[in-house]
Symmetry: C2
Subunit: 332 residues, 2 copies
């Protein structure tokens, strides 16, 4: 591979000059510029980004931290970030954080080691304080789906509790009282919020939440099926279900199909959803939409603005949105 030195020699100039035409910096005579360009073509020269990074300690690279690679949620999230980063002419580095503070820290470090220009963090376990400390040093970052005091302008968030409340409200307004909840892992903050929304909606209508109507799963399909089975074993007379993820909703439908339970005939359903899986089900399921794609795009844009020293767009809290479909029956 030809290096800048080869180009310099062939063009009979110094490496500095080649560097200048390369970066269009400084003043260069048109003739020498042409000469250099010719030499570059002739040698099929490609600048070495690693060397450049070493010299500038920046890398034209964006880092993304996620807790998992699996499942359509993360897949689409990564794809979306990939897309926008790509459009900014940068490369994306993704690093997985698994499920602890420690591994999240490591994931971030790997990315900083690579001198990423900026980071997008979908970090679930770090303490707010750690994040604030992190914000002190060089590498700028955006927090995806997380609210941290003092870092509001770096947060792209969603109101999970309100979303949950809306979903369950919808059910109650249609006459449902005995509403089951397929909940996410309790130790995840957003799962808690979604659950709180459920409780809040019930209480607002004078219904006391009943723990035995709730079952927990890891947001996944088979977990959802199992959780649904658990609840039905305890209460065969529920009239509605509030699912905290689309995959759990699919799992519940698996069970319904097996047992010839019809939706919304026997049971009404409202689910969280972020990649429109619920529209594939029959009937299409009414959802509260968690716009992870839009949020991902927003995060990339915000980071880009940060990197270019532009004024940050106002921090945005994405609003939940009810998407009415055909899975809710009006009870009389």
């Amino acid at each position: 591979m030809a290096s800048i030195k080869d180009v310099a020699e062939l063009a009979k100039v110094s490496r500095a000059t080649v560097s200048r035409v390369l970066n269009e910096t400084g003043q260069i005579r048109e003739s020498t510029r042409a000469c250099v360009h010719e030499a570059m073509k002739k040698l099929n020269y490609r600048p070495n980004p690693l060397a450049r990074s070493l010299a500038t300690s920046s890398s034209n690279t964006v880092g993304l931290v996620v807790t998992s690679y699996r499942g359509s949620f993360f897949s689409e999230l990564m794809a979306e970030v990939q897309e926008s980063v790509d459009q900014q002419g940068k490369l994306l580095l993704v690093s997985r954080a698994h499920r602890s503070r420690d591994t999240e820290l490591r994931a971030i470090e790997r990315l900083k080691d690579m001198r990423c220009d900026g980071l997008i963090l979908h970090a679930r376990n770090l303490y707010d304080e750690e994040l604030r400390v992190l914000a002190e040093d060089k590498t700028p970052f955006i927090l995806l789906d997380r609210q941290v005091e003092g870092l509001e302008d770096r947060c792209v968030t969603f109101d999970h509790a309100e979303a949950g409340r809306m979903a369950v409200n919808h059910l109650i307004e249609h006459g449902h009282q005995k509403i089951a909840c397929l909940a996410g892992p309790r130790k995840r903050l957003t799962a808690q919020l979604r659950f709180q929304g459920y409780q809040r909606a019930l209480r607002e209508h004078g219904i006391e939440p009943d723990e035995s109507l709730v079952a927990e799963a890891d947001y996944d399909r088979i977990g959802g099926r199992r959780a649904m089975a658990e609840i039905l074993a305890r209460h065969s007379d529920i009239t509605a279900v509030y699912s905290c993820s689309e995959e759990m909703c699919v799992g519940a439908f698996d069970l319904f199909r097996e047992r010839n339970i019809t939706v919304p005939g026997d049971i009404s359903m409202v689910s969280f959803d972020s990649v429109d899986v619920c529209t594939i089900l029959t009937p299409a399921v009414t959802t509260v939409h968690f716009p992870i794609k839009e949020m991902a795009v927003r995060a990339s844009a915000a980071l880009s603005a940060l990197l270019n020293q532009q004024t940050l767009p106002a921090p945005e809290i994405f609003a939940p949105q009810l998407r009415l479909r055909h899975s809710v029956r009006t009870l009389d």
Copy 2:
């Protein structure tokens, strides 16, 4: 950030020694090793991978080239590769090639510029010859879902034509004769193969393929819906559909639902599938499974073997597999 130099000074040794303990190379007295380690801890030293790459021209990085980031197929493909690369302790760089030879070449170059140790290519447009030429130079690569003469041991492939034949055969064996085809983009080789499988199955049973039973789409949901509508406009009496992608199948179901067409009552369906979307539909759709996930894992493993100079596992042609579900009715 502390550099190797700082560590050396603090430990009162040379940078070479630090480098040695870092890479566990050469012989070092236990006491100095300890000393160096201590210095590293004290300074919270982290080696700079960029500098290392520059020096060794290798980067502990794997590159992946895809034609698109969108859609569950690519999402899951990337996630899967991400997972295995991650487990090898490496970082993944993904680059998009869009839809032409030229852009594919560029995508590959970007990755080579970054000195990726190896590449996984899902390259659709490069000529076989170009790939062979590419194989000459340093960076090793694996071809995903593509067969190239002379590079057989670097190919992880799937028999699309046979898969298509199996699918349509299944339909014919259940008494169907007038079988529509939701085809992928003709200019893509694998789409052609899937289509050829359709033709072959028909001919083997003495049915002459009828172009008006075929409609093309870009493997996507709305395209599938439109294509299905086109065919139905021409032939309202088809009894079965062969869909070349799961998303098109979902699109067709969208139409069916609108028009109260039942599956398999009115129309039977067999579809290609790679991420099990078809099991979400009602009824669950019988599919030929295109095991992209397994293939992605295989590709990563093969690349890893290549990188470690291990003997390559025998090249594998993944076999199509019919997954019987409930979307095919037996015609009498």
